[in-house]
Structures are given as C-alpha cells and as structure tokens.
C-alpha cells in the first residue's frame, strides 16, 4: 500500500493524497458537506493539478462502490478459477437474525458448513477477508464461497 498523506484544509475539509505505482500523484478532497474532489497532480508543476473532478455525495458513493466491488469480485473470480464446483452467493443477515452481534467464529460457519465468508458488505463499506472476530450487524451482506448445499445451510443459519 502506498503511503497516504493527510492535509487539513481549514474551512474546506480534508485532503488525502498518495503516489500511484506508476508515479502519478493522486488526491481526494473530502469537503465538510460530503462532496468530494478527485485531483490528478501535474508532473510539470507538482504543486498544481492537471485535472480536478467534482463529485457530489451520490457520485462519490458510486465511485467508491465501483472501486470496492471490483476488488471483491476479482478475489472471488480467482477462487472460482482454481476450484471446479465452487459456488458463490451474497447472503443478507436479516434484522431478527440470531447472528446479529455475534462473530464469524461464534457461528462456527466454516466448521459446520465448509463455507468461507470472503467479504462482508455493510452499507457503502466492504470488508474483504473479514477476521473470525468480525461481528455481524443487521443488513450486512455476507459474500460466501462453498458448495451449493453448504451455501443453503449458511443461508438457513443466518436467517434463524
């Protein structure tokens, strides 16, 4: 992971920036109201920006989702390529589930069903490869990988 620098912009918000693997300096301003600006710095004048993109709250969410989602699906695709007969499913944890507040380890999901939780999507955040100590909240979407029958079992467990 490249090092991300944080800079406070009084009266505006916070700027985060980092250098990409290809050497391009990239930044994001988070305005106080939730608006974002995506900044591409100029190689000729490193203090200035070559491109500035204005994103409103919805645009930023969409961009974040697109960037985050592709990461999860890439990981899943990699797993699927390796093993034939493996299925993947997105399973929602309902509000009344006994799993709410309990961790992945508590549920002994993998021990009992052979299914792995490879990611959990909560609202706009995605947690790839959640640790066994990860606790579920109502509405979480668990990205699960396993045999079709194992996935059925997990769906039943989470709904109980």
């Amino acid at each position: 992971m490249p090092e991300v620098t944080e800079t406070h912009l009084p009266g505006v918000g916070v700027r985060h920036d980092f250098t990409t693997a290809s050497g391009q300096r990239l930044g994001v301003i988070a305005h106080r109201g939730g608006r974002r600006e995506v900044l591409v710095y100029d190689s000729d004048d490193p203090d200035a920006c070559r491109t500035v993109m204005q994103l409103d709250v919805d645009d930023s969410r969409t961009l974040a989702e697109v960037l985050g989602a592709s990461r999860v699906s890439e990981a899943v695709a990699a797993v699927q390529q390796r093993i034939e007969g493996l299925s993947i499913d997105w399973i929602t944890v309902p509000g009344g589930s006994t799993f709410v507040g309990r961790t992945i380890a508590d549920g002994e999901i993998r021990t009992r069903t052979g299914v792995s939780i490879v990611a959990v999507i909560r609202g706009t955040d995605t947690t790839p490869a959640p640790p066994p100590t990860f606790a579920f909240a109502p509405g979480d979407v668990a990205v699960a990988v396993g045999t079709p029958s194992g996935l059925d079992a997990v769906r039943a467990m989470l709904a109980s």
Partner: protein, 399 residues
C-alpha cells in the same frame, strides 16, 4: 382596517417601495458579480456611492431601518468569520503558521499605518487603516480558489492557514482598536484594552471547555430553533460587548468561535442567507455616507497603498509557501491569492466612523477595497503568467 395600520400605511408604503427597489438593484449587481467571478462587495460600494449623499440619485430611504440593518450586518459578518473555522483548525493553524502569520501582520499592517500617519491623520485612524490593509478577504479568496479549481493545489493549505491566523489575530486587534478609538488618556485606554483582552481570553477559555456542550444542546432542535438561537446569541453578545466598551463586533465574533461541532456546521449554512442580506445593507450604508466628490482625491493614496500592499502580500505568500516546500509557480499563486481585501477591511474602516478623520478613512478604505477586491482575483487567475514573467526560461504551459 385598524386605525393603527391606516396611520402608518402611507410612509411605510414609500419605505417598502424604496427598500424593495434597492434590494432589486443589489440583486442585479450580485448576479453580475457572480457572472464575472468576483465578489459583490465592490459593486455594492459603487451602488451606495451612486445612490447616497451627493450621488446620481439622492435616495432618502428610511434612515433608521438602514442604519440598524447595517449594524446587524456587521454582527452577522463577524459571526460568520468566527464560524468559518473549527477550534481544531484554529489550534492547528496557530501551530503551523504562527511565523508567516506574524510576517503577514507586520508586512501588511505597517504600510497602512504609515500611510495614515503620512496623510496627517490621528493615530487611531492610522491604526484602523493598518487593519484595513492587513486582512485579506477570506470570503473572496476561498471563493476564487474554489472557482479556479485550486483547492487541491499544494499551496492552498498555506493560504488557508494564513487566513486562519488573521482570523485569530482579529480577536486581539478588534478590542484593542475599539479601545483606541474611544480615545481617552493612555491609562484609561490601557485599562479598557486589558479588560477587553481578559474578556476575550475568558470567553475563548470557556468556549473550549463548555462550547461543545452548549453546541450539542443547540444542535438538537429544528432549523428555525437553531437559527433564532444563534441570531439571538449574536445580538445579545454584541450588545453586552458594546456595553463593556469592547465593540459589538467582538461579541458576535466570539459567539462564532465558541460554537463547534454539528451546531457550527448547521449554523453557518443557516445564517448564510441572513448574513448576505444584512451585509449588503451594511456595505450600502457604509458607502451612502461617502461623498462621491471626495473619491477622486482618495484614489491616489488608495491606489498607491494597493500597489504597495499587493507587493507585501505577494512577498508574504511567497515566503509562507517557500517554507512549505512549494516551488516558484505555487509561491506566486499563493502570493497573488492573498492580495484581495474585502468585507473585513470595510468593517474595520467603519469602526472609525466617529473619528475626526473618519470620513477620509472611510473614503480611502472604500477606494482601496474597490481596487484590491477586483485586482486581486484577476492577479490570482493569471498567477502562472506572472511567474512566466519572473522566470522567462520556464516553459509556458498550454491549457
């Protein structure tokens, strides 16, 4: 119709029509200003000159209403200034930019002070002119930077932190100046200043301790409850400060500084339209009192002062940006961005309206703000071209 309504009706009707037409003129000017990408303040000042005493049209708009509206405008402008930055931003700014802040104060206030003394004014009037040339307009600058898409540039935090320091410095400058303006002998002035500074210190201390609790309470209610509470607090604090002889503006400013967290954010959005309305009345009222006939005489010192203090602001920005490791073009951008003076220069000049040199100060300040508020953003926009002049070898960028 009740007898009361019938009695006030005729002169209220004329006042309504006059104020209404005036507001429409200001609205057209604000629209023009935003189309040109500059602040409306110089346009309001010109409108006031044209419509006020000795202008093209001598309007006799309900004096009491305009005068009180203008006072409220000053309070709301200072409230907004106080609201602009969070306590954490103020602390951080003080930590990183204290040295450039001192350079900024000395390099830009001293030319104003010297010019006032050279013009043969009294010391209080000269001190006020120093304040006029000192403060950059945070309103103009943040708008220009956002419009030019420069908020992400690396010199921008340097510029913003300097504005934060000026903001904090006002908390000390305003009470001192208020006491100096009242006059009296040295001992009385010293005691008023100490009372004022102790009050400011106590309020700031209380704000950091209890501000968040009060703000949390305030932020719970509805929008109308919050806007009324903030408006009420501002006027009441301004009144109390005025009674203590430390200028109503300080009271309003401290209310803005004391509010924090969600209440601060919501209050600044809610108070904005109210501030725009009353601030427009203030700028109009300020220039109503200026005789346009005096303007040509004030233009020479004002332009000379604008040239000198644009150069000192350029130097200040250059120095502050260089300290932060910014290259030549960024330094010039920072320096030119700081050149614009605006609303607070007018507020400072208005504090001296009661002085013997008050009218001259007002006219000079108005001309000075007219020049810098228009020239500053133009210089900012063309900063990269300016750097090319400084270093012709540098490759010019085509955009």
């Amino acid at each position: 119709m009740s007898p009361l309504l019938a009695a006030v009706e005729s002169h209220t009707a004329t006042a309504f029509i006059e104020i209404g037409l005036l507001a429409l003129v200001l609205s057209a000017l604000a629209r023009l200003a935003s189309a040109l990408g500059i602040t409306a303040v110089p346009f309001y000042l010109v409108a006031g000159l044209a419509l006020g005493e000795g202008g093209l049209v001598d309007l006799s708009v309900s004096e009491d209403f305009v005068a009180l509206g203008a006072e409220i405008g000053v309070l709301l402008l200072l409230l907004a200034l106080g609201l602009e930055y969070t306590a954490a931003e103020l602390r951080h700014g003080l930590g990183t930019s204290a040295v450039p802040g001192v350079v900024d104060g000395l390099a830009n206030a001293l030319p104003g002070l010297a010019a006032g003394l050279l013009l043969g004014w009294s010391v209080p009037a000269a001190v006020l002119l120093g304040g006029v040339t000192w403060v950059s307009s945070s309103g103009v600058i943040s708008k220009v930077l956002a419009d030019l898409d420069r908020l992400g540039y690396r010199e921008t935090p340097v510029i913003l932190n300097l504005l934060v320091i000026e903001d904090l410095a006002m908390a000390v400058y305003l009470p001192v100046v208020a006491a100096v303006v009242v006059g009296a002998d040295a001992l009385a002035t010293a005691s008023t200043v100490s009372v004022a500074l102790v009050t400011v210190g106590a309020v700031l201390w209380a704000a950091t301790r209890f501000g968040s609790a009060v703000s949390a309470r305030l932020s719970q209610g509805s929008n109308e409850a919050l806007v009324l509470a903030v408006f009420g607090l501002t006027l009441a604090a301004g009144g109390v400060a005025q009674q203590l002889q430390i200028s109503a503006a300080i009271g309003a400013f401290l209310v803005g500084l004391a509010l924090s967290g969600p209440a601060q954010e919501r209050a600044s959005t809610l108070i904005e339209p109210l501030r725009d309305l009353f601030a427009a009345i203030f700028f109009l009222f300020f220039s109503f009192q200026i005789d346009p006939g005096d303007l040509p005489g004030a233009l020479v010192p004002a332009v000379a002062l604008a040239v000198v203090t644009s150069a000192t602001k350029l130097g200040t920005g250059w120095l502050a940006a260089a300290r932060a490791g910014i290259a030549t073009r960024g330094r010039v951008r920072a320096g030119t961005a700081l050149m614009a003076r605006g609303e607070f220069s007018v507020v400072i000049a208005s504090l001296g309206s009661g002085l013997a040199d008050g009218p001259e100060l007002g006219t000079t300040a108005a001309a000075y703000v007219l020049v810098t508020a228009v020239a500053g953003p133009i210089a900012t926009k063309n900063a990269d071209r300016l750097s090319a002049l400084f270093a012709p070898s540098g490759r010019r960028r085509g955009t």
